[in-house]
């Protein structure tokens, strides 16, 4: 065996860990932007369809596959998919479930360090945007701070004296992740999320209350009020529902948001006790994520922007994308809040930092578990292997910052496209190879709820078909331009070269793992059916 005997300390612990993995910057920044750009309130119709027909069913499949793999002594996507899919093809395909979180961590921890840096700037008075100047001047000051902090103006900016603060914040964020990973599942990840998630909820509530009580701050601009902000976000444009792009954006947001197709849930669920429920736990984790996304993200971000920047300013903020909205527009919004501004800014970016760290630790953990079980090393040594890979990837992300091309390439191919591919592989392996009969029984083993039988049909037929449509539509609308971009941009080629190198290393480790698992007599091809009571 791999020597991994770890388990979650409590049921609530694993639920909060999976929720923490799912709740990230996308809940507060990406979701409202996507909704506003794709039909406002009408966006919620395809959004909830994707949640019920794709997100939650695949989520249940991942939880069940993870617990089943854990029962056989496996804890990573390659080994678990090898058992579920019964063979080497699925085992090697499962490498995607290590590559995705690992490669996303290269830039995600960097973004987490921005949140920490912004929090520090607000807490120490370092965010100097003068609200008495024109909005355009404030926006320029905010953009200047952002570009100075992120280094988007040129490559290698951080490897001089100017970059010391940014590198220092990254080192703190990365070190914090590694410290928690080293401590293990229960003492590290679970303990941290048990504090972080409630604190995040309180922070979000504080900011929400402040935003909803803003009223009409400038009597000279009576249209710029809270109701106007809510109307901008929620008034439906039903014509958007006729546009396939709206449905694609909604499905993409669900995948991005609830962390299905990352390989993370497979790993986390493998540490669940054999007879513990996964049906209610999986649903609770998804529901928690939705509260943060729709309940907080859908009310805070664009409402605050509208109240202070008006309709045109908010439209510009949405078109600036997730990071433009979060790191350039919102500082201008906070500057208009008077004495409350720095406090709200500090609370907001502290919450985003916690959200980012609860997500980033879940990106390192699957790779560490994979190293442990494939190479037969302890957690400490497995962590150092992962640190070595991440140091290379992260330093390349931090060095090649110009125009964000390098990490945007990773984000597109890994953080968007491969997520859909892995989810497709997972639902086919679960519903068709493992079999929906066994899969349904596996989900309900130890379950505290009875899932409506319609979901059995959804998991076998609807989810794979829906996902296939999404995957094909995504490929047709996005891949040609992205492939053309590779030929034109050396930074994109370099990013793909890095990903190919990491992929080869991971494949080689699977090869080593196969030999080790066979030597140990483990059932790596899933030939023995293991029920709750043992082998049968």
């Amino acid at each position: 065996m791999s020597g991994q005997k770890e388990q979650w300390g409590s049921r609530l612990g694993v639920i909060l860990a999976v929720s923490g993995s799912a709740v990230g910057l996308g809940n507060f920044l990406r979701f409202p932007g996507q909704a506003a750009a794709n039909g406002g309130g009408a966006f919620l119709i395809p959004y909830f369809c994707a949640l019920l027909l794709l997100g939650i069913p695949i989520c249940w499949a991942e939880w069940a596959m993870g617990r089943y793999g854990g029962r056989k002594g496996f804890h990573s996507a390659p080994s678990i998919l090898g058992v579920i899919g019964k063979g080497a093809f699925w085992r090697y395909s499962g490498v995607i479930g290590i590559l995705i979180p690992l490669a996303v961590s290269f830039y995600y921890t960097f973004i987490a360090s921005w949140c920490l840096g912004y929090f520090y700037a607000y807490a120490t008075g370092g965010m100097t945007i003068d609200p008495s100047t024109a909005i355009a001047t404030q926006a320029a000051a905010s953009t200047s701070f952002y570009e100075g902090f992120t280094g988007f103006s040129e490559n290698g900016l951080f490897f001089g004296s100017l970059g010391i603060p940014t590198i220092a914040f990254w080192a703190v964020a990365f070190g914090m992740n590694i410290f928690l990973i080293m401590r293990g599942i229960s003492k590290g990840i679970e303990k941290f999320v048990s504090f972080a998630m409630p604190i995040m909820a309180v922070c979000a509530l504080i900011v929400l209350i402040r935003v909803l009580t803003l009223g009409t701050p400038d009597p000279a601009l009576p249209d710029q009020n809270v109701m106007g902000g809510l109307a901008y976000m929620w008034n439906p444009d039903y014509a958007a529902l006729k546009n396939p792009q709206t449905w694609l954006a909604a499905a993409g947001q669900i995948f991005f948001s609830i962390s299905v197709g990352f390989g993370i849930i497979l790993n986390y669920a493998s540490y669940v006790k054999q007879d513990d429920d996964v049906a209610l736990s999986g649903l609770t984790a998804a529901a928690t994520n939705e509260v943060f996304e729709v309940g907080f993200g859908g009310l805070i971000t664009l409402t605050a922007s509208f109240v202070f920047l008006g309709l045109s300013g908010t439209i510009a903020a949405v078109s600036a994308g997730t990071f433009g909205l979060g790191f350039q527009t919102l500082p201008v919004v906070f500057a208009q809040m008077g004495v409350f501004g720095p406090v709200v800014g500090a609370v907001w970016f502290f919450m985003l930092f916690l959200a980012a760290v609860t997500s980033s630790i879940s990106m390192y953990q699957p790779a560490v578990a994979f190293m442990q079980e494939a190479l037969g090393v302890d957690r400490k040594r497995g962590t150092w292997f992962v640190v070595a890979i991440c140091m290379v990837g992260s330093f390349m992300v931090i060095y090649f910052t110009e125009g964000a091309v390098f990490w945007s390439t990773i984000d597109f191919w890994i953080g968007t496209f491969l997520i859909l591919v892995l989810a497709m592989l997972e639902i086919i392996a679960f519903s068709w190879i493992f079999g929906i009969d066994r899969g349904w029984a596996e989900i309900h083993h130890g379950a505290d709820i009875k899932i409506p039988t319609i979901f059995r049909f959804i998991m076998k037929w609807v989810a794979p078909a829906y996902l296939l449509i999404v995957l094909v539509a995504f490929a047709v609308t996005n891949l040609p331009a992205s492939i053309a971009q590779i030929g034109q941009q050396p930074m994109a080629q370099l990013a793909l070269g890095l990903l190919a190198a990491v992929l080869l290393v991971l494949m080689w480790i699977v090869r080593l793992g196969e030999k080790r698992w066979r030597d140990l007599g483990m059932d790596l091809d899933g030939k023995e059916h293991v029920s709750s009571g043992g082998a049968s």
Partner: protein
Amino acid sequence: MTIGGWILLVGSLSFVWGLAGWCYYKILTGPDK
């Protein structure tokens, strides 16, 4: 805000808060394994 906006806002918030509330109620009052 339009009536459609209100319906979608209240409906969406009720759904996510209701689902989360029901889930945590079931967990906190369920059998201790």
